[in-house]
């Protein structure tokens, strides 16, 4: 994954996320909505054949866009981990009940 800064202001950031698509960008966008400091978050993929998403974040100034992105990514990782643990346990429980 490579990030390229397109535009950077005090409270907003526009980056290109090379090597990712809707799969990651959409969860990231949704996760940023949970952050109160984030005023705007969105992305576009200009053409499906080019496929490099351009991500835009704007905050209200109480934290930098980079911080918001970092926190959001951490929450995604945490959610994925939580899901995996819950899922493994559910499978184990299902198997035990079967036996």
């Amino acid at each position: 994954m490579r990030l390229k800064v397109i535009k950077r202001g005090p409270n907003d950031l526009e980056i290109e996320i090379e090597g990712e698509g809707h799969t990651f960008c959409n969860v990231l966008r949704k996760e940023l909505y949970e952050d109160k400091a984030v005023v705007y978050a969105g992305y576009t993929i200009d053409h499906p054949l080019v496929g490099i998403p351009r991500f835009y974040v704007r905050t209200d100034g109480s934290e930098s866009p980079e911080e918001a992105l970092l926190k959001a990514a951490q929450r995604i990782a945490e959610k994925a981990r939580e899901f995996r643990e819950q899922f493994k346990e559910a499978v184990r429980g299902y198997r035990e009940k079967r036996e």
Partner: protein
């Protein structure tokens, strides 16, 4: 976040995921289809082919045969220490040497001999080509790990979808128990119990809302709960279904961690630029 397994067998899993959002569920689904690696034949060397089919057609048929995948002992070619040229850590050779001597025969996936007993066709009865008397097929095939986004042969799942958990509300004050909804419902969600409409299979509802339309009294409301998802995942047999879901969550986590890495190197660049 809570998970409950509804069905689980060798090829298929159905589970409920509670307390998530659609973006997360969709990320999981997309990763299962396009990014969980599995093994498939990627290169074929024909030594002899006197069958009626062209080499390319046979190669294509071979590629679509699902192979049992061992994710622990093999690397993706682009992540392998050999640099993707092909070594025993990222490649498996399969051989086929068959001739129709007296009788015409059908070549099946089971005729493929693999050098790794763990990486073999999932099913032995997949037909590849028919050989007439005297025709011969000798080939060497290389199987590699890959991702569904590069070619569908590498996708470990066939059907992989989720739906919102259905919420079916019947207003008993308006309902006249006419039974039209039970008649029209393609999933048999409703049943007449002692002259009254009852919801018996809430989870099998496909949210088609045919019952809403047919109800003259407008007594039924169908809603989808967008925090609870019913996943239905069917594999092709290369990986066990629970493994596919687990791998998908690992890949999502890895994506987030890689993003964090890339972001921190970006902020480091800023600081260096400023100083």
């Amino acid at each position: 976040m809570k998970v409950r397994i509804l069905e689980l067998d060798d090829l298929h899993i159905k589970f409920i995921l509670k307390g998530a959002n659609p973006a997360f569920a969709n990320a999981l689904r997309r990763i299962m289809i396009a990014e969980v690696p599995s093994m498939a034949i990627d290169e074929v060397v024909f030594l002899e082919n006197t069958s009626v089919l062209y080499d390319e057609i046979i190669a294509h048929r071979l590629a679509l045969i699902p192979l049992r995948t061992d994710l622990e002992s093999y690397n993706l070619p682009e992540e392998c220490q050999c640099g993707g040229t092909g070594c025993s850590l990222c490649q498996v050779r399969l051989f086929l040497d068959i001739e129709a001597v007296d009788e015409p025969i059908t070549v099946y996936s089971g005729h493929l001999k693999s050098e790794d007993p763990k990486v073999v066709p999932v099913k032995d009865n997949i037909p590849i080509v028919k050989l007439a008397r005297g025709q011969k097929l000798v080939l060497e095939a290389y199987a590699r790990l890959g991702r569904g986004k590069d070619h569908a042969k590498w996708s470990p799942v066939s059907a992989c979808a989720y739906k919102y958990k259905p919420i079916i509300k019947i207003n008993t004050e308006l309902c006249n128990n006419c039974g039209l909804c039970a008649e029209i419902c393609p999933k048999n969600v409703f049943e007449m119990v002692e002259g009254k409409i009852k919801v018996v299979n809430e989870l099998s509802c496909s949210l088609c809302r045919a019952c809403e339309k047919v109800c003259e009294k407008e007594a039924i409301r169908i809603l989808g709960d967008d925090t609870t998802f019913i996943f239905n995942v069917e594999t092709v047999g290369s990986l066990p279904p629970e493994k596919v879901v687990e791998e998908a969550s690992k890949i999502l986590e890895k994506k987030a961690l890689k993003f964090i890495d890339a972001l921190s190197s970006l902020t480091k660049e800023y600081k260096e630029g400023e100083s």
